[in-house]
Subunit: 217 residues, 2 copies
């Protein structure tokens, strides 16, 4: 039978999964707002980021409270410390979705993304959504195979990121500096968000095996 | 008299200070490499980042080991958890210095920064070095007044970041897209590095008072 303490640990794990779902939705909506110049959706992502921030604060307070009260050993301690780190990654991913939405809002009623880059940004959004869905799955199942595979999706993100720069640097690039700045920042937001997802999966790997998956950051 | 456990806590505190010094040096050298197109210095920053990474790994392993072995209570527990978080911030600051140095290396033998932006980047570098020196001081003294004042230095960094964009967006900007991309990324590296320093100071504030300084991230 489970005791109250392990119910609390389960509830912390569930909150991380819930944060993953919220971050996934935020990224998807931010990409839609960006590509369709939808101010309402952009505003929604911007205003709802506070939910993810609050979840992190509450989760961390709860985790610290358990650490102080229960003085857990070995495995449980590792679970709690990992939770603190994963919640920080997930919170930061929410911030990056918020940054993407702010670019959409700043350029409204124009579309921030010029036609030459719509496909690349769409692909970056798709890859990132896939990465976050898998990450949330890894948080739920602790499946190590998926955790490792995520590195491949992240390679795809890096490829798209390089492609974005190649398009920007093409001599035929007809847009100005402002658009180049927007696209440079957007590229970085998508790429960093994927990096944090990889970091979450590496932490799950460490949690399960006690070893680092590869070049753990 | 101090016991062995508290000597260990002191040594963790000292390692954070040492990391702060290394990060400060890395940022200063990276800015020099960037503004003087000095390949040797850029390579030095790039290759030495592993030192900061290793310090974080060792510090975290040691901290986790103490947590498992000693099951510390209240204040000591808070110190150890905060150390894990601050070491992550410091490690990331090292990464950002490494990113700055990589821009210098990529554009060598040219200078990455065009004449119009030399002064702004120099100022960003100076403000960031000042911020890191103060942060290292806060880690050593736990002085709350300095921890709070750091937010003002960070405001200065944000102002310089906005100034950089204004210069890039001036109609008279004579450089191409590539330089604009470099400058956009550099601006972000300096600004993010300062944000992480602010985060370290906020964690010291929390550690000492048990309360958040302001809108704690």
């Amino acid at each position: 039978m489970r005791d109250a303490f392990h119910d609390e640990l389960d509830s912390i794990g569930q909150t991380l999964i819930d944060m993953g779902h919220l971050v996934g939705t935020a990224v998807q909506l931010a990409t839609t707002a960006l590509l369709t110049a939808d101010l309402k959706i952009a505003e929604q992502v911007i205003s709802e980021d506070i939910k993810i921030d609050n979840m992190q604060h509450e989760l961390d307070a709860k985790t610290l409270n358990i650490l102080v009260r229960e003085q857990p050993v070995a495995g449980d301690l590792r679970t709690l410390i990992s939770s603190l780190r994963m919640s920080a990654d997930l919170e930061r991913m929410g911030d990056l979705a918020h940054h993407i939405a702010k670019v959409a809002r700043m350029r409204f009623p124009s579309t921030a993304v010029p036609p030459e880059l719509v496909l690349t940004i769409q692909e970056m959004g798709d890859v990132l959504s896939r990465i976050i869905t898998k990450t949330t799955g890894v948080l739920r199942t602790h499946d190590l195979e998926s955790a490792i595979q995520l590195e491949k999706d992240d390679d795809e993100m890096d490829k798209l990121h390089r492609k974005l720069f190649l398009i920007l640097l093409d001599d035929a690039w007809p847009h100005g500096i402002e658009t180049a700045i927007d696209m440079t920042l957007l590229g970085r937001y998508y790429e960093r968000c994927a990096d944090h997802a990889v970091s979450v999966c590496r932490r799950v790997y460490f949690l399960v095996t006690g070893e680092y998956a590869s070049e753990q950051a």
